[in-house]
Assembly symmetry: C2
Homo-oligomer: 331 residues x 2
């Protein structure tokens, strides 16, 4: 199975839906700012997840399309605001919204995407009582994402040696996995799945999301700027406490020069490219990148077990393939 081609094919319907949900509005500048990230593509993992889970559980996938679009619009809202907060100037190989426009417009564009996502949610064709459930699920997910982003920033100010790996895992669960969970759980609800299926799809998506984020942290160090669309080493410069960094600091002795190389660059806005490279090299040498890859792949293996609740189908196979892809991709 060519998972990327399959993902692209499955994303077509949701891409059309996203474009149509974001085309109406009176303020041209705001509309352009709102459309800037969604129109630049992206893997569409979350909406495709909602759609495929709905199919795999036994409902019609198209009923999950507006919901998936809402989830992807929420994802894009968080990217717009995160880029302002992290002062990231590039996204998907293009200037960030606040760079192309300005910070106030980026704040409003994020808010507008958020609003449009919830308006889209009212369009989902489900029994009325399910609308309430989807609303609660999705709104609570956004609250948790906000907590995750706050923790991610708070962590940057805590000495990395004082953070436990559990703190990091809880943070990335909130910041990344919760929206995957919401997509999958929502897809199962829309398909009229049993509570057992709904729970299993959420648990599958949790593993997918955590594995995805841990692997993303690896890509941010080793990936190619041209394929990831983001400058390599930004996480080091911003002082992100990733699993990789926490593992290295737990394992490198106080007098190890690799520890010094890492701490010299970590959170140092003025670190030179050479210092960034030395820090990445240190993380590679001490096995922390391999460790993170291993953990990401353990999550993928665990996630696949939750798929056993589903009947065999091409969609179940796709869900298994997508979790492998999440922890082996190039960008």
């Amino acid at each position: 199975m060519d998972v990327i081609a399959d993902l692209e094919e499955r994303a077509k319907r949701v891409n059309e839906a996203i474009a149509s949900y974001l085309e109406s509005g009176e303020n041209q500048k705001l509309l352009l700012a709102v459309q800037h990230y969604p129109s630049a593509g992206g893997k569409r993992l979350r909406p495709v997840l909602a759609e495929v889970v709905a199919q795999a559980v036994g409902g019609a996938g198209e009923k999950a399309v507006p919901f998936g679009a809402a989830i992807e619009i929420i994802h894009n809202f968080t990217l717009v605001h995160d880029d302002v907060m992290d002062n990231d100037s590039m996204r998907r190989g293009r200037p960030s919204v606040h760079v192309l426009f300005d910070v106030p417009t980026a704040i409003i564009a994020g808010d507008a995407l958020f609003a449009r996502a919830f308006e889209t949610l009212s369009d989902v064709d489900v029994p009325p009582q399910s609308t309430r459930r989807l609303l609660k699920l999705t709104a609570h997910a956004v609250w948790l994402i906000a907590e995750g982003q706050q923790e991610d920033m708070d962590f940057e100010r805590i000495p990395p040696t004082e953070l436990a790996i559990g703190d990091y895992e809880r943070m990335i669960w909130k910041k990344t996995a919760v929206l995957f969970e919401c997509a999958a759980e929502g897809g199962a609800i829309i398909a009229g799945g049993t509570e057992e299926q709904i729970d299993a799809m959420r648990d599958y998506a949790r593993s997918l999301g955590i594995g995805f984020q841990i692997y993303d942290d690896v890509l941010a160090l080793l990936g190619d700027k041209n394929t990831t669309g983001k400058p390599v080493g930004n996480d080091i410069r911003n002082g992100k406490r990733t699993l990789i960094v926490l593992h290295a600091l737990q394992n490198l002795a106080a007098d190890d020069p690799r520890r010094t190389a890492l701490l010299t660059a970590l959170g140092n806005a003025n670190a030179t490219p050479e210092q960034i490279d030395a820090a990445i090299q240190a993380l590679q040498d001490c096995g922390s990148i391999d460790y993170a890859l291993e953990v990401a792949r353990q999550h993928a293996a665990q996630g696949k077990k939750h798929l056993e609740v589903l009947k065999p189908s091409p969609e179940r196979d796709f869900l298994a393939a997508i979790i492998d892809y999440a922890v082996n991709r190039k960008s």
Copy 2:
């Protein structure tokens, strides 16, 4: 009728609801940031409007309390983000969220308030199909508020002589009146009102909101900092194109020294207190403040006519009193 005492009395239930909806979360800093404006009070006009409209239409007002709380939480989310964008350092006599914490925390706190508002919406005890209607209504209102805020900022960069009074009215409709409309329309929906009643309550609230905002612009020039909680003259310094300013520029001749006084201070971040005072004096002398007061009071009179669709009740009287209060208050 002592409308302020009545408003305070009616706000008690919603205040408890707002506090309880905002008390849970894992990140203490984020919770404090989230609670900062809601806990500082405010008139609670919007949630009380939802509650009283529900009563006046004939339903139990308490069913509208979670909805009113959601609307007030949305209002507070917009205040948090607006203060970041407008760089306003004070709100309700206290430091703004981004001053007390920092800009990223304020952006996240706004997002978190937004999320919690929609979670609260899922708690509203209405027939399931009404949940969907309330969701669409409220989410679309937030989109329009975002457009209104964008236009407000865009207008600051347009020569004030190029803006029509209609542009200003459309902007404040979006920025302010739409949330009043949403509160009243939602209250009528929750009470099971007829479509005629629902429409009338929305139209009443539109007049209330527009009158409220025009009067607010007057207060921002003439009000006492101690009662409004905001520094007087900020709107001049920020270059806000209010009805007052637009009227003055349409009526002051090119060689009128009052025109010069106004244009010297308008949008001038470095304007001295004396220059600000001179601009306000010019607006007063040329009758533009009186004009705005007159327009605000016309909206109030128009709004009251829409109440005729309701049976006589203390709640209908309160709705009439509140619209008079909106255009005659001290803060």
